[in-house]
Symmetry: C2
Subunit: 278 residues, 2 copies
């Protein structure tokens, strides 16, 4: 793994970093393919929304652009570019440093293996017991306080289960631990409303934009467990793994359908396009 | 500042540390005076409860004991010992490393200046707008996901305000950003119930134990804003700054009373004992 801190090769950060102490920062995980950081503008937009939500200055976009260009010029491809942006360091205390200076921690690592079968047949998912508690101030953004997702991911070790779905305390489905969920019923696309909790993924935004362009109906709404079981098609998505149909939710089986296939086709590389969708 | 990582002098941690990535860990802030880490057993108990709440093995108490002894032998006194315990490192993904290994990040720094006036006359505090959202799974423990407290602390810059009080979404008072709150009315001591959110401080535990020993009534209960305004005495406490009476909450003035004075006298050094309490 290559890593730069504030633009210099460095694989460590001071023990006083506020990302470590309090999670006082944000992150992004971006797919790099053929030298391009896919969806870069959307990732930068979310960082900017995150800075605003945390009461911080706008993100250091020029520095991040330089980090991206520098690392992509020397690193593996395809790859995952991970950005962690923290509020610098203080020895102790919740008060932020004054004057303020960003710390950019940017790493580039080989992309994961994409399993063709995950895209063609789909993946198995489960319900997590861990709830996604509400915090409307922090909903949607990708901050560094991720214990609920860590705890949810710790609920299974079966390598055959690719993702866990999380709910809020009212039983509304919020999404996967590391992905957003789409539910298709009678040709209507729906995805959980993320105003109270959850992370608004860049793939989710791209899919919604495509759906609008194609004239499909797409709803951000409250979804129940029963809405999932009654769906015609279900899929999860994120920036690194693309669109993966759900073939099994607990004991209920699904088959990837035409909406999922059409969206997979839109994105194509770097996710294998199933034969039946070509 | 002296800092050790896993028992060796080191002032940095790998960029892959899961404390940094996700806040996947716990911390403690402990006062050291005359070579003693005050309330050590209570801090270790809270760490153990935190590990259990996060689904982690028991904390590495032997290593932490060695860190404490080693650092206190060479560092300043009085001092603050800060322990950060993280789940080690992973390049990416919420799944925890297997096999698992703790990372102990232990720092020793000079104690803050204790201002006699803060203990004698008391401090000024304000209400924070930032809410303390509920997460009963994580309530009480001192994990590394502290964005709500950071955001609350960012609400004021007036150096004359020593602490901000936070409420939950139902308007119940939870405590200060970095301290626990006690409310005294008609000789009854009350402190917010922390089953839904908040951090259960070691000073809070010591004060409750003393109150029980002295035969005082002490309640862990829901407290409203009006309960605070109607109090005879109010104080905040934490392990580093001890017991500080509140002399002003927004525009309402209070005077330190006999219960606060008796408790301050119990603890004595290293916090200045007000003249009228000697």
């Amino acid at each position: 793994m290559l890593s730069w801190v504030n633009g210099r090769p460095q694989d460590a950060v001071p023990v006083t970093d506020r990302g470590l102490s309090y999670g006082d920062g944000l992150f992004e995980t971006i797919l790099v393919a053929s030298g391009q950081a896919l969806g870069w503008a959307l990732h930068m937009d979310r960082l900017a929304r995150g800075c605003s939500a945390l009461g911080l200055p706008p993100p250091p976009i020029d520095g991040l652009n330089a980090d991206r260009a520098g690392l992509c010029a020397i690193g593996p491809d395809p790859a995952v570019l991970k950005i962690i942006l923290t509020v610098g360091g203080t020895a102790r205390g919740y008060a932020r440093p004054d004057p303020f200076a960003w710390r950019r921690i940017v790493s580039l690592m080989p992309a994961p293996a994409w399993l063709r079968d995950d895209y063609e047949s789909g993946i198995r998912v489960k319900w997590c017991r861990q709830l996604w508690f509400s915090d409307p101030d922090l909903a949607g953004i990708k901050h560094l306080n991720r214990l609920p997702q860590v705890r949810a991911r710790a609920e299974w070790t079966d390598a055959g289960i690719a993702e866990g779905l999380m709910r809020d305390p009212e039983g509304r489905v919020i999404g996967g631990t590391m992905s957003n969920l789409f539910v298709i019923k009678d040709a209507v696309l729906a995805t959980p409303n993320l105003t109270q909790c959850g992370i608004a993924g860049t793939m989710r935004a791209r899919i919604m934009a495509i759906a609008h362009r194609l004239g499909w109906t797409v709803e951000e709404t409250a979804l129940s467990v029963m809405d999932c079981y009654r769906a015609d098609e279900l899929f999860v998505c994120n920036a690194v793994r693309g669109i993966r149909p759900i073939r099994q939710l607990e004991s209920r089986m699904f088959r990837p359908g035409p909406v999922t296939r059409a969206l997979q086709r839109e994105f194509g590389f770097p996710w294998p396009v199933p034969e039946d969708a070509r």
